[in-house]
Amino acid sequence: MAVADSHDTHDDHHDLYDHGEFIAHHFDSAEQQFDSGKLGIWLFLVTEVLFFSGLFVAYTLYRTNHPEVFEQAHVFLNKYLGGLNTIVLLFSSLTMALGVRAAQLGRNKNCSVYILITMVCATMFLGVKAVEYSHKWDMGILVRSAFNLTYTHPTPTTEIGKALHISDYLVYLCIVPALLLAGFLAASVISKLINKAMLAKFMVAMAITVSGYFLGVVVGVIFMSATDAETGSSHASVIAEQPLMLMASTQDEHDEGDHDEGDHDKAAADPNHEGDHADHEEHFGSHPADGGEASFDAHHPDPSTLSRDVGIFFSIYYCMTGLHAIHIIGGIIALAWLYWRSLLGHWRTDYFGPVDYVGLYWHLVDLIWIYLFPLLYLID
């Protein structure tokens, strides 16, 4: 009969099962707990896929309805930077998988190293992305309502921007990581002083992680200037002395009488957009002198020949890559937690669930990028 023999101990029902260290009270066994977690994470991944699916559907619809827009638009994406990021993420998937393996074998030290490498790859990815984003913002390649392609670049106004010849936007995008880096370094010193060796180690690892971002920025800038001439994302092309107002010069079926005014207001209201177009007179950075001529070829289309809906492509681009970047950031936070637990030596051959789950999540984030890259960068 199924009546348990525990009747007389039921006052003490916390001891009904001899639970291991990391087994929650409501599970009967480590196995049940692991199975639940595994199923849970798979379901979570399903919701993630569906979450992105709305954007993929929007992409598919606009691409089938306006293929020409996508052909015109993709030249503004630098496929070398995209490719670089693809490799970085693929590599991070490898180190993640190795980390999972290490955890399964209970090798906490190896696991922590692999996780650290994974985190560095993640931040490096974000650094490269920051280079791409800032470059586009400079050229006025924004979402549909604010899209205002000029090919010109505003002169940097920040001290760092002037000194390094990089875009102000890139400087802004580095502020938070710089603060984080300083914070983690300070925290590691303090932890050392108060004799918390483990915490100090963790903080150093976090500082290394954040440094990955700057590595990404540096590599991104170098790649960008090296591949300038080849892609339309170049800032070298000069097509006119005065900024071109794309919106004003093109018309298509979506045009409505009042929209130009609206566009302009929106653009001015956009904090990323420096209303003052008079700034756009000068270019910076070194660039090949032939850029001027190249500006009318397929890679450097004249803004006045572009469909206005090129902006929609970039709306979709920013939504997709932005949402993906948010997922990368979430992944880094989860990985940091795993790193901390590896330092504490939590993983055992019979307990490694969390590494497994976060690993699956990381592979999915990776996989989404594997789809985004060809869909956005490699249209031809």
Binding site: A2, V3, H7, L16, H26, G40, I316, C319
Partner: protein, 567 residues
């Protein structure tokens, strides 16, 4: 068989239970116990129900005369929008799964808790935050006037608090996903030993089917609302025709979630009704596997019919025809359930207590609601009926007549289990009568005026419709009084009601093998796995005045059946 003192411990009135095992507000606010979280959810959705109910009564009062000036037109628009949004996103979607399901589901599996208790608590706090954001739309003074459907392009152009409200709905979506994901995993991994899928109560099947929809459909709503927010703030041109976007795409995305969402609302209700009908007829449920699989069928087919909300939005004729045809097929599994319930009632020994009265009301009202759905799914009639009060009446029959009725029935059914105290059955039935008659008085006239062309969402109307509106308004107040009365009966029972035993109605699903109220860990012993619809497995124990599984009973002191006493 076990000895008398053990029996007393297991099924008698416990000294410590989940309600009194720890004290102080923190023991509730940070609890991981599914029962306490369920109770907090129940309180939360009740607040939402009352709030949105007050909006409804204001609307109905305004509509009492055709030239009413009680509300300005703007106020009227805001009122019906908030009524609908709060009712749908904050009340009805979480109601049965997150409140009742949370309390009952793990116990039906003989488990101690759901698989992820922290996620369960997080779901509740997300519910609070999301509802708060919805209400921020009013509190910020901006209001909200898009209708609960947030259709573009109006939602992009209006200056009311669309961003607060859509963000609130976005958060509420995650709250719902958390519940659904938790339930899916719980049912898969936390069932008691040897409890196969076909030994599960049908309420579990229906919650499982619901959870599938919650997990698969809600993320799409999430991204849609995010895109709407991006459209409103950055003008990305995906939905906004001013920037080359497609407003009908929004409708597709919205209904891709929101049609399945109507099954998030109704499937759990159907599960409750399967339990009530069978327990209070003391008869094995008729066609168990048909009911079980029809839940799954509804969940899956429900993904293929969203276009029936857009027959007049400019879809191609072919698409429209296909959506119409699939809509008809969805009605089949719903009807399968109704016939199975009727067959269960047939020759049952029916106990007409409060929960059963609600269950019977459900069958009647859901029948009307579902059948009128077919009028709307048929193309030629829908062209006439679309956006009229006929649609309003249809969905209130299924959502209020269906889900709210089942919620009340379920709450009455499990109330003695939760609190260990019995409700006043007479007043409970009076409440049910008021709800049932008030409901019909409110919404039946709306079918009539809808079919005569009264459009929905208008603040004023032709004098010829006035009589119907007046009936409807009177009915709404009767319905309100009925709900209020039930509320009073329930609260009084929880605080002062007479003590009751562990299983007063001879139900056979596992939750009735716990004491009333249950222990913090639900069961003091591993429950005996019984067939949830084999009532013979439970025998009446004279000493304890309750039904207990035969295995625990003293064969000399049991009777097969005790005549039920009405309190």
């Amino acid at each position: 068989m076990v000895d008398a003192s053990t029996r007393q411990k297991l099924f008698g009135t416990p000294e410590t239970n989940f309600l009194n095992c720890s004290k102080g507000w923190k023991s509730w606010a940070f609890t991981l116990d599914h029962k306490r979280i369920g109770i907090m959810y129940l309180i939360g959705v009740t607040v939402a129900l009352f709030l949105a109910g007050v909006f409804a009564l204001v609307l109905r009062s305004h509509l009492f005369t055709f030239d009413s000036t009680m509300l300005s037109d703007d106020m009227y628009n805001q009122m019906f929008t908030l009524h609908g949004a709060v009712m749908v996103f904050s009340f009805i979607i979480p109601s049965i799964p997150a409140a009742l399901g949370n309390i009952v589901l793990p116990m039906m599996l003989g488990a101690k808790d759901v698989a992820f208790p922290r996620m369960n608590l997080a779901s509740f706090y997300l519910w609070i935050i999301g509802t708060g954001c919805l209400l921020l739309a009013i509190l910020s003074g901006k209001g909200l006037d898009t209708g609960w459907t947030f259709y573009t392009p109006y939602s992009i152009d209006t200056n009311t608090g669309v961003i607060y409200a859509t963000f609130g709905a976005f958060i509420l979506g995650f709250s719902s996903i958390f519940t659904g994901l938790n339930f899916l995993v719980t049912v898969n991994t936390m069932r008691s030993k040897d409890q196969g899928w076909f030994k599960l109560p049908l309420f579990v099947w229906s919650l499982y089917a619901t959870a599938i929809i919650q997990v698969l459909a809600t993320p799409v709503l999430g991204i849609t609302l995010l895109m709407l927010i991006a459209e409103k703030t950055l003008h990305i041109g995906i939905f906004d025709p001013k920037y080359g976007g497609d407003p009908v795409l929004f409708q597709h995305f919205f209904w891709f979630y929101s049609h399945p969402a109507v099954y998030i609302m109704i499937l759990p209700a159907m599960g409750v009704i399967s339990e009530l009908i069978s327990v209070y007829s003391q008869k094995r449920i008729f066609g168990y596997s048909f009911i079980a699989f029809s839940s799954v069928a509804i969940a899956l087919l429900g993904f293929l019919v969203w276009g029936h909300h857009m027959f007049t939005s400019g879809q191609s004729l072919v698409v429209t025809l296909i959506f119409s045809a699939i809509t008809f097929t969805v009605a089949i599994p719903s009807a399968v359930k109704v016939f199975n319930w009727l067959a269960t009632l047939y020759k049952g020994s029916i106990l007409l207590n409060t929960p059963m009265c609600y269950a019977l009301s459900f069958i009647f009202l859901f029948g009307i609601g579902g059948l009128t759905g077919l009028f709307l799914g048929a193309l030629s009639t829908d062209i006439h009926l679309h956006d009229t009060y006929f649609v309003v009446a249809h969905f209130h029959f299924v959502m209020v007549g269906g889900t709210l009725t089942a919620l009340l029935g379920g709450v009455f059914h499990w109330w003695p289990k939760i609190w260990g105290r019995m409700y006043n059955d007479f007043l409970g039935r009076v409440g049910c009568f008021l709800v049932f008659s008030g409901f019909n008085l409110t919404f039946f006239p709306q079918f009539v005026m809808g079919s005569r062309g009264m459009p929905r969402r208008y603040a004023s109307y032709d004098p010829e419709f006035q009589i119907f509106h007046q009936l409807s308004t009177v009915g709404a107040f009767v319905l309100g009084i009925g709900i209020l009365l039930s509320f009073v009966v329930l609260v009084y029972a929880a605080l002062r009601g007479p003590r009751c035993s562990s299983n007063p109605f001879r139900a056979a699903s596992l939750e009735w093998q716990s004491s009333s109220p249950p222990d913090f860990h639900n069961f003091l012993q591993t429950p005996v796995l019984t067939d949830p619809y084999d009532f013979e497995s439970q025998v009446y124990d004279e000493e304890l005045d309750t039904y207990i599984p035969r295995e625990f009973a003293n064969p000399d002191k049991v009777a097969p059946r005790k005549e039920p006493v009405h309190h």
